[in-house]
């Protein structure tokens, strides 16, 4: 490891007041020594990962994180503890102080704060906690809703969101195992209203890893590859939707019409089908908004957070970050609504976390917290658990900012202007594929297509490149490689030249 140049060190530690993005690169250039700028940029130049060590002897397998109005960060763990962390944003300059707020809850996987109560989604129920005698430890544990079933199987996880704009908490309930629903509402998304009413909301869930919202406040969950899921994906939870796995649909008879009519069954055949075909037949079927191609980008997506930091976390305001447990990574997601359905692109964002990321939370001040474990399912990070903070260094990485679909191609926008001489056809390569929609576990990539990519137009400011793509295949992941592209300043390539766009709909 080489020592970073002094200029960069200074930059990492200085505060980062919000600057108009347009001027930021100009401001930064003089700070970069020639030696540095000629090096190949790496993720850590732009985002630094700071481990916040657990109190001695404690096991912090984070399942949910919440930022509290008093500036503390709360984390609930798979071992059922809730900790309050002071100075999480300042550590190690001001060492983090951990204080135990509650213990021995049942594998909580969601934390949300409202009106002085900390809401916890634990395996059997939604509970709200409060410290009433002022000793810093919770003493009121009020059950808000326990209207779903559990039967003692480890797989029946319950993940919880923060509150939506109507004050509902969204809960995503894993199936009993990989294949069956043996307790009430396994394989469902439920909402818990502010007065504790349980609203069955969507069916067809298999094995979620997190539930959250995009910047518009629409709910999404992450789904793991397995039966009826050829790959892991980020899915839009349209109320009344069917998400593809039929094994929890037996519970429509308990839902009293809250989630609409029971959808038709998918084909129980050996050869399976395709989602793009079956959603013509099954009216409630909402296809995955963004496929996270299995093995290529990860194995097990988890927490979901929108970027509301208004630039304090870098240039991706309004986009969504998604955790990846197995690969110890965080993905970046751009979403757009086309013909009434969500779809969009996944971009690699950051890797090298110490354990398997499960919980994510982005503070309004622009600190991204993540915690998790590798228990039961391994993770590349290597440590059994971790709590880490991601901070923007203030430098803008050269990245594809957005990938928007057009009728005959895509508009790419960039975080920095591109070198127009590099924006030529040969700089881009695309392949497209989909997965079998089947009851068997997972799927290979199938129906490969080799679209031709050509550069149709480059905007004057070099921030947008319009690509013509032929053919555009509905239902396919369009995997783009832009290895040849260079930035206008410094001439380096994209920090992550790949993008994976899920084309559910082609604009009319």
């Amino acid at each position: 490891m080489e020592q970073p140049a002094p200029a960069l060190t200074l930059l990492i530690h200085r505060p980062h007041p919000l600057r108009p993005m347009k001027y930021a690169p100009l401001f930064l250039i003089p700070l970069l020594s020639p030696a540095l700028s000629s090096e190949v940029p790496k993720e850590s130049d732009f985002y630094s990962i700071t481990p916040i060590p657990a109190p001695p002897g404690e096991v912090i397998e984070g399942g949910g994180i919440e930022c509290l109005p008093n500036g503390k960060v709360a984390v609930c763990t798979r071992r059922g503890q809730i900790w309050m962390i002071e100075n999480a944003a300042e550590h190690p300059d001001k060492p983090a102080q951990w204080k135990l707020f509650a213990e021995s809850l049942h594998e909580p996987l969601g934390l949300a704060w409202r009106d002085g109560w900390l809401y916890v989604v634990q395996r059997p129920e939604v509970t709200r906690l409060r410290d009433e005698d002022g000793d810093g430890r919770a003493d009121a544990f009020e059950t808000v809703s326990d209207g779903w079933g559990i039967n003692g199987d480890y797989h029946e996880y319950a993940f919880g969101s923060t509150f939506d704009r109507e004050g509902n908490l969204w809960c995503a309930l894993c199936l009993t195992g990989s294949f069956t629903a043996e307790s009430l509402y396994r394989g469902w998304i439920l909402r818990v209203s502010p007065d504790g009413k349980l609203i069955p909301t969507a069916s067809g869930v298999r094995s979620p890893g997190g539930v959250g919202f995009n910047a518009e406040g629409e709910a999404f969950y992450t789904e793991n590859q397995g039966p009826w899921n050829g790959s892991s994906s980020l899915k839009w939870i349209k109320p009344g939707s069917f998400q593809g796995n039929p094994n929890g649909n037996v519970f429509f008879e308990f839902a009293g019409g809250a989630a609409g009519e029971r959808p038709l069954d998918p084909p129980y055949t050996e050869q399976g089908s395709r989602i793009v075909k079956e959603r013509e037949r099954i009216a409630q079927f909402i296809p995955p908004a963004v496929v996270l191609p299995h093995q290529k980008v990860g194995n097990s997506p988890t927490g979901i957070v929108p970027d509301f930091s208004q630039g304090k976390f870098g240039p991706f305001t309004g986009q969504v970050f998604v955790g990846e447990q197995t690969h110890s990574k965080i993905h970046r997601i751009f979403l757009e609504k086309v013909n009434g359905l969500y779809q969009g692109a996944m971009f690699p964002f950051l890797e090298g976390f110490k354990s398997g990321n499960i919980a994510l939370r982005l503070s309004p001040e622009g600190q991204l917290y993540t915690s998790g474990s590798d228990r039961g399912w391994g993770a590349r990070g290597g440590m059994p658990f971790s709590f880490e903070r991601v901070t923007w260094t203030g430098r803008i990485p050269f990245e594809i900012h957005e990938m928007r679909v057009r009728r005959d191609g895509f508009d790419l926008t960039f975080t920095l202007p591109v070198d127009k001489t590099s924006a030529v056809d040969a700089s881009f390569r695309m392949e497209a594929y989909t997965y079998i929609y089947q009851m068997a576990y997972g799927s290979p990539e199938v129906d490969p297509v080799k679209p031709q990519v050509s550069v149709e137009d480059i905007s004057k400011d070099g921030r947008r490149v319009r690509l013509k793509v032929s053919p555009m295949t509905k239902g396919h992941v369009h995997e783009l490689h832009a290895d040849g592209l260079r930035s206008a300043d410094g001439g380096s390539g994209l920090l992550h030249p790949q993008a994976y766009y899920t084309l559910n709909e082609i604009p009319k």
Partner: protein, 551 residues
């Protein structure tokens, strides 16, 4: 007469063999055991003919009997082989229930001697081990699986060009070995990695193994790396498994898609001190393919996967209670364990809104709950008594109506089928009840709250000593006006014989009721003690063991 003749024959046979080597007894047992196989494979092992077909293949041609494939042969004998085509009349039947470990060992010796290339001696204890190993498999083998396994077994060593470096240093995490100079370098013969080259070191060392391997087919390969202390597996330059840090033997599994052809592998390892282990295994893309061990060590890896160090739970401060929510035995899944000062504990069941059981001694071991994917915690201690587990309230028009303890319903079991035939029973929250959670007092003693119809109930327990013996005093505060004929059940166990103030609830535990008059009934053969519920009533129930807790 006939019977005595055959007895004579057997004893003669016994005489004949007793003078021979021990091994021939084995061979004889094998020959006798082979009689099970004769009906298809024939007395000469060439397969019995049935029209144009053989009942079973000739054993003289079997590749499993040539070379040392005792484990595979055992696996076949235990589980049998599926009939997937019409080449032979019969399927091979699973014999795990029919044959003992000794018989299987003897049969392998006999068959390899008679029909194979050379006799293979197997110990019954090895067979027993393999029996355990394959215990989870419930279906016979497919031919393709066996052929693949045979190919694996006869394949050249997985790892080749195997080199190692040993480094000296005391680390908390894997260092960047590439920046350090090795103290020793060496090579190992093609085959498994091993900590043997460092066997004389007391600790404070690191090892890096570099090797190559060639894959015949592309697909998902499952790697499993166990180590004490930290380790990492690097395939083709990318870190696939991190198992870093100072820890006891701990296994991390990872799946990776690999292309066919040549790959490089690096295993990094460090040992700070104390126990040491390093084990590595790989399983091929087919989910049924066998695990290949790539290390000389395997036992720690197997052990690490099976047992956990205990995690005993105690209250944070002396004099406080501890509340532990987990799956617990003998209760429904929404169980809540409470450990009180004075070595008295209980499990309250939030599925049925009632006490499930009380017990004494140590509180709880969370090891199986907080390791792996998370099973139930284990209540420690002793003298566990289940008193009236089940829903606490009921409206009984007459005392002949039975108590409904649990709220359940049947649903169809829809596992990817359009026409489900099977039904399963699931727990369903009872519509008359709503759990409201619990509040902790200054000593962290919980008061459980719930609603039953129009009643609000608070259920609190306090440990106490009664007549010098451990006891729990329970206060059930019922607010509101009950509907007519509402009953609360206080006991459904033991003789319920009354002696003075105390009701015997079995298992050396007695119960006293204050605040209401208890009545006993026998309904459908079950003895129960109930109290009639009146407006705004407070019941005090004292649970007392008849003798002190013995260590």
């Amino acid at each position: 007469m006939k019977r005595s003749l055959s007895l004579l024959a057997v004893s003669l046979l016994g005489l004949a063999t007793s003078s021979e080597a021990e091994g021939d007894k084995v061979l004889e047992l094998g020959r006798l055991t082979y009689q099970t196989c004769v009906a298809c494979h024939g007395p000469d092992g060439r397969g019995l003919r049935a029209g144009d077909l053989l009942m079973a293949p000739s054993l003289h041609d079997s590749p499993f009997l040539k070379g040392n494939h005792s484990e595979l042969l055992t696996a076949i004998l235990l589980k049998g082989i599926l009939k997937q085509d019409n080449k032979h009349i019969q399927a091979m039947l699973p014999l795990e229930a029919a044959l003992s470990d000794e018989q299987i060992a003897a049969l392998i010796a006999y068959a390899t001697e008679e029909f194979g290339d050379t006799r293979r001696n197997v110990k019954a204890i090895s067979v027993s081990k393999w029996r355990k190993k394959y215990a989870d498999r419930t279906i016979p083998w497919k031919r393709a699986e066996l052929e693949e396994a045979l190919a694996e077994a006869t394949a050249p060593p997985f790892l080749s060009n195997l080199r190692y470096q040993i480094y000296e240093g005391k680390w908390e995490e894997l260092p960047d070995f590439s920046a350090l100079s090795p103290a020793t370098v060496g090579t190992l013969k093609d085959g498994p990695i091993s900590l043997n080259p460092a066997k004389d070191r007391k600790g404070a060392f690191g090892m890096v193994f570099d090797a190559e391997f060639t894959l015949r087919e592309a697909g998902d390969y499952h790697f499993s790396l166990t180590s004490d202390d930290g380790s990492a597996l690097v395939i083709d330059g990318e870190t696939l498994i991190g198992n870093d840090g100072v820890h006891p033997a701990r296994t991390v599994n990872m799946k990776e898609t690999l292309q066919a052809g040549l790959h490089t592998m690096q295993v990094q390892y460090f040992e700070r001190g104390g126990e040491r282990s390093l084990a590595l295994a790989v399983r091929g893309p087919d989910t049924k393919s066998v695990t290949r061990w790539l290390s000389t060590e395997t036992s720690e890896a197997r052990k690490a996967a099976q047992s956990y160090d205990p995690i005993p739970l105690t209250a944070l401060r002396p004099g406080e209670a501890i509340v532990h929510r987990a799956f617990l035995p003998d209760a429904k899944p929404r169980a809540i364990g409470v450990g009180y000062p004075g070595a008295v504990n209980l499990v309250w069941d939030a599925d049925v809104l009632n006490l499930a059981y009380v017990y004494r001694g140590d509180f709880m071991d969370a090891a199986s709950h907080w390791n792996g994917r998370g099973a139930a915690s284990t209540p420690l201690g002793k003298d566990r008594v289940k008193i009236a587990h089940g829903l606490p309230f009921q409206i009984l028009e007459s005392l002949d109506e039975p108590w409904q303890s649990f709220s359940e319903t049947k649903v169809k079991y829809e596992r990817d089928t359009a026409n489900p035939q099977k039904e399963i029973t699931i727990n369903l929250r009872h519509p008359d009840y709503q759990f409201r959670g619990y509040h902790l007092d200054a000593k962290r003693f919980p008061t459980f709250r719930y609603d039953y119809r129009n009643l609000a109930v608070a259920d609190t327990f306090v440990p106490a000593e009664v007549d010098g013996v451990t006891a729990l005093i329970r206060t059930v505060k019922i607010e509101g006006t009950p509907e007519e004929h509402t009953w609360f059940r206080i006991a459904a166990s033991g003789s319920q014989a009354v002696a003075g103030d105390w009701i015997d609830v079995g298992s050396n535990l007695a119960l006293k009721v204050d605040g209401a008059k208890a009545i006993s009934r026998t309904c459908e053969g079950n003895r129960e003690t109930l109290v009639s519920v009146t407006r705004d009533m407070t019941l005090t129930l004292t649970y007392r063991w008849n003798n002190p807790l013995r260590p």
